[in-house]
Symmetry: C2
DNA sequence: ATCTAAATGTTAGAATTCTAATCATTGTGC
DNA sequence: GCACAATGATTAGAATTCTAACATTTAGAT
């Protein structure tokens, strides 16, 4: 039990490098120029529309305050709109505009292509175990 | 094959949240105050002493230029020393000082404790599969 | 040998992100 | 109903990180 946790502690630290290796050189070419946080946020909003600021900041891995800036930028660029949530006047929900959806689809496609290229060197077996491992982590992440 | 990669692309985006959930609230209490990059770097250097700046920057997930600042800070705080590598005069290797080793051990211990607390809510089964998944990712990360 | 290209580490300035304080709204206990 | 804590979002300033350009050294080609 304790040993498992120690191993996990030891292994956790490779994730930044893993992310770095996968994301490296992913410059999205879209009509509107977005940085990586904006792109990530846009995709997440696209797939889970209508969430609140706090929700998104957690999912995207940013501090709440930081996500405000990202949302501002996406709004200025005409990709999302803040909508007041009816049930709680503190909250605001984010909705995509038409062009927001369009750009999100573009980025999504480009990201898939980018990743496919990055994973080129892996065998089919590696891909399967990577897929399975990520599923496990995603599931566990929900429980934390 | 293509579907596996698409799944991986879809799942990859949960990693920032996963990292955020695990690291949240990990304030190390040591004689010398370190930010999270410095702490992470110090531990990595502790476990792989004598590497070069570029190596470490890659492992820790920082741009080379950013790691220079981290190394500067660690050096100013008396925890590491830049040593010129004999084989290539461009390179410099990082070595820990005595107090660097001491602090590294402290942080390592505190990090383990922090993570153990964070993983409290998981079952033994979850811990096992998480451990296994991270091993897979670490191995695959080496191949990228 | 010499020229060119690549790799290593650094620097400066811009961009991004964090932290802590704040405002507005909601929930709780009395 | 009223004080008071808790939550959602924002803000400003500080801290962190990135990008692009640079100097130095090495490797490769001719």
């Amino acid at each position: 039990m304790a040993e498992k946790k120690e191993n996990i502690a030891r292994l956790i630290v490779v994730l930044p490098m893993f992310m770095g290796a996968l994301m490296k050189g992913s410059n999205f070419e879209t009509a509107v120029q977005l940085n990586s946080s904006e792109a990530r946020s846009l995709i997440y909003i696209y797939k889970h529309e209508g969430g609140t600021m706090s929700e998104y900041s957690k999912r995207v891995g940013l501090a709440r305050g930081s996500f405000t800036a990202v949302a501002d930028s996406l709004e200025e660029k005409g990709l999302v709109a803040r909508v007041s949530a009816s049930d709680d006047r503190r909250k605001c929900a984010l909705m995509l505009t038409g062009s927001g959806k369009k750009i999100a689809r573009e980025i999504d496609l480009q990201f898939k292509r980018h990743l496919a290229a990055r994973l080129e060197s892996l065998s089919g077996e590696d891909l399967s175990s990577l897929e399975k491992s990520l599923k496990v982590i995603a599931a566990i992440s929900e429980k934390l």
